[in-house]
Symmetry: C3
Subunit: 341 residues, 3 copies
Amino acid sequence: MTASPLRLGEIAERFGLALRGDADAVIDGVATLAEAGPGRIGFLANPRYRSQLADARAAAVVLREADADAWSGAALIAADPYVAFARIATLFERIPAAVPGVHASAVVAPGARVDPGASIGPLCVIEDGAVVEAGAVLGPHCVIGPGCTIGAQSRLVARVTLVQDVTLGRRVLIHPGAVLGADGFGLAFDRDHWIKVPQLGGVRIGDDCEIGANTTIDRGALGDTVLAEDVRLDNQIQVAHNVVIGAHTALAGCAAVAGSASIGRYCLIGGGAGILGHLSIADRVTVTAMSLVTHSIREPGEYSSGTPIQPNRDWRRNAARFKHLDELARRVGAVEKESKS
Amino acid sequence: MTASPLRLGEIAERFGLALRGDADAVIDGVATLAEAGPGRIGFLANPRYRSQLADARAAAVVLREADADAWSGAALIAADPYVAFARIATLFERIPAAVPGVHASAVVAPGARVDPGASIGPLCVIEDGAVVEAGAVLGPHCVIGPGCTIGAQSRLVARVTLVQDVTLGRRVLIHPGAVLGADGFGLAFDRDHWIKVPQLGGVRIGDDCEIGANTTIDRGALGDTVLAEDVRLDNQIQVAHNVVIGAHTALAGCAAVAGSASIGRYCLIGGGAGILGHLSIADRVTVTAMSLVTHSIREPGEYSSGTPIQPNRDWRRNAARFKHLDELARRVGAVEKESKS
Amino acid sequence: MTASPLRLGEIAERFGLALRGDADAVIDGVATLAEAGPGRIGFLANPRYRSQLADARAAAVVLREADADAWSGAALIAADPYVAFARIATLFERIPAAVPGVHASAVVAPGARVDPGASIGPLCVIEDGAVVEAGAVLGPHCVIGPGCTIGAQSRLVARVTLVQDVTLGRRVLIHPGAVLGADGFGLAFDRDHWIKVPQLGGVRIGDDCEIGANTTIDRGALGDTVLAEDVRLDNQIQVAHNVVIGAHTALAGCAAVAGSASIGRYCLIGGGAGILGHLSIADRVTVTAMSLVTHSIREPGEYSSGTPIQPNRDWRRNAARFKHLDELARRVGAVEKESKS
C-alpha cells in the first residue's frame, strides 16, 4: 500500500470515531488484527475473536466500546467496527488514476455521446447511440453498444460488455468479463425445431450496484431486466431476462436466477443457489448456498435445500435409501397401523 | 422500438395468419398482453391467462381460434400463438446494421481468408488460417484463432473467442464472452504431479445453433467436441472436451457437461444441471434444474435429483436425519420383522 | 495434425520407452485406440478396454507390459501408458508460434516492463507497473493491470485479464476469458444499505498452474489469494478472496470456493462442487461433483452430498417425504418403543 500516510487523529475525525491513544501516530495502511504491525490499523468486529487482542501488534485497533478494555493500545471506538474499518480502508486503496478523455486507441462512433469529464480507456468501443456521463470511467477493452447509458461516476473496471439498451445508474461498479444486455434465452418450439424469440427489452441497473467478474445479465424479452439500487452481485452470476431484483439485495458467486423471477429487497442469495423462472421472493429472504428455489417464497426467513456432506461410503448408503424413501414411509405407516391394532 | 410501422394486414399476410379486424391498423411494436397499448400487438399463448383479455388494450392480439371469442378487438388467429408472435416480433428487432468489410482497427493476419461480404467489427483479431464466410458478422473484440471457420450468415455479437480449430455452421449466433475451442481439462497424474494431456481436437458447431454469453465449449482431446444443428445453449454453460450434443437440444443457464458425455436429440437440460463424463443420454430426455446425472439415461422422460426447498429450521432437522437414513431403514426393517413375528 | 512425422524409434528413445516392432515406422499423429489408423499411435491405459486391441489398426500402441500379449503389432511399453501417451502427444501439438516482441497494435504503458524475449499479441494492454518476464506469451486481447507480474514461460492464450497485483509464477497457462485479481465480494451492512469493503490484497499463482476459460480468481481483501504450484483449474470456476489452494490440487469445471477457504494438497474437487467460506480441507480429499462442503474436512478421503437422479415421478414422491423425514424418524422411534414394550 503506497497511499500517503495519515495521522491517527485525522482518521478518527474524518469518520467521527472516538480516539483512545496518540493522535499523532502515523498510519500507512490497514490489515487483519493478526497481521497488523507498526503503522497499521487492525479491527475486531466479532467479539468471539477478542482473545486475539492479547497478541495484537497493531498501531491501532477499531473496536466496540465493550471490547476496549481488552486492548491497551491505541483504539478507534466504533458502534460497528467492520463498517468503520471498511471506511478507513478506502483511504489506502490504490485505484489507478483515470484521466478524463478518450484514449487514442479507443473507437468511438460519431453518434456516441461521451462527456468530456468521462474517461475512456485503451481499445474501448463506444457505438452509435451510446451515452457516457460525467465522471464515468471505462477501463481497457469495454464495449458499449447502441442505446446504452453509463451513469455519472460509474466505473467499468476493464473488458465489460454492454450489448444493447443497458442503462446504468450512478456509481455503478462492474468488474471484468461481465456481459449486460445480451439476448435472453427465448425459444419457441415450432413442430420439430426451435425458433428464436426476439429479445426486445433492455437492462436497467440502479445507483450504487456492484456487478462481479464474468457475471451475465440478459436484456428483457419484452420490457426490461431490472436491478434496483444498491444490488450487489458477486462473480459468475446469471440473471435471465425480465428478472427484477429489489434494492439492497446481494447474490453470492455462481447464483442463477431464471427468467421473470422477482426477488425482494434486502435478500441474501447464497453462492450457487438457483431460482426458477416466474417465481416471486419476498423481502428479507435468505437462501443458503446451492439451494434451489422451486416455488415462490412469501415469508421472510432462511430457506435451504440439499443434503449434508458425508464420507462417500456413508453417503452412498443413505442416497440409495432416498431412492425408496416414499416406500419406506409407507412401510412405517403399515407398521404403525399394525402396532395399533 | 423504432422500426418502421406496418399495417396489420401486411403482418397477417406475411405470416399466413387469419386476420379479424381492421387490416389498415398501424402497428409499431409488440408487447406482453398486459402492457400492449395502441399500436402494439400482444399475444395469448397460454389459455390460462384468457381472463387478461378482458382488460387488454392491445391494437391486436395473436391468439388461438379457441380463444378468439373472449376478445372483441382485432386478432391474428394462429395455431401456435407463441411461435407466430416470435415471428412477428422479428419485424421490430433493431439489430445494429453490419457493414460488409473489415473495420480499420481490426487486425487480420495475411493468411486469414475473409469473404468480402462478411463484416469484421472494431478491434477484432483474425489469425492465420482462419476463414470467415459470406454474410458472417463479427461484432467488436472477437478473436478468431488458427484453423477456425465462421459459416455464412453466422453472427458473433461481440467479444467472442474461438481459440483453435473451431468450425461454425451457418446462421450460428454467439453472444459475448463465449469461448470456443479452449483446451479441455486433460491431466495425467505422474507420481507426484500433474502433466498436461495435449488437446489436439477441435469443435464443430452445426447450423442454427445459439450459444449464450460467457459459455465455454472446449476442443476435443482427440477428435472433436460436437454440437449438431439447432442446439441452443444459454449463458454460463460449460461443455467439456469431446461432448456430443444432438440436434434441437437446449441447455439452460449454468448447466455443465463433463468430458465425452453424449446427449441425444430434443433433450432439455435444466439450469445448473450437471452431467458426468462418459455418460450417454437418450433422445427426448428432460433433466430438471440443478439435477446431477450420474449414470446413463436410456429412456426418454423427465429426471430429477435434489431435495425441496424448506425453511432452514425444518431443513436442518430433515438433513440431519438424511445422514442416518440407511440406519433408519434398517430399523424399520427390524420393527417389521418383529411385528410380524 | 501437421507437425513433422517422426520415426517410432525416435519416440521410444525420447521418452525412454521399450519398443517392440519396427523402429523405422513413420508416425504422424496420435489418436484413440479405436480411431488410430496408419501412421497413428494409440494407447491402452485401462486394462478394461483390452478387448479393443483385437480390432485396433494403430501403427503402434502404448500399453503396459501386462497387456502386451494381447496385441501383435508395434508397441511402446510404459509403466503408465496414459502419462507416456500425454508426453508423446505433445510432439504433435500445433501451438501457434509466438514471435518475441510487442505487436504494433498493443498498448504498452511507459511504466510497464516487458522482457524483449516476451511476446505481446495484438491489442493487448499492459499498464504502468506491470512486468512481463522472458519467454512469456500473451495472445491477443490480454489486459495486464498495475502491479501484475507474468512469470517466465507463462502463456495467456487470449483475452485474459489480470486486474491488479496478480503475480504469476513460471509456466502458468491461462485460457481465454479468465479474470484474476478482480475485487473480492466484500460488503459491510450499514444500517440500511451496503458499503463496499475495499479489496487491498493480491493474487499469487504458483509455477505450472493451469487456469481454465472464464474462471475467476479474486484478489484478497487483506493479504492474498494463493494457488500453490501445479494447481489445475478447469473452466468457469470461482475462487473468492483469500482462498488458499495447496499444490497439485485440481478443481473441475464450475466448482466454486468461497472466501478464506483453504484447500489442501493433492485434492480433487468435482465439477460444480461448492466449498463454503472460512473452511479448511485436508490434503488428499476428494469432493464429488456438485457436492456442497459445509464444514471443514480433517481426514483424507472421498466426500459427497446430494441425492441420486431418478425419474421425476419417483423423485417427487421421495422428495415430498424428505420434507418430513425428521417426523418419519420420530415415528419410527415411537413404533420401536411400542414394539419393545
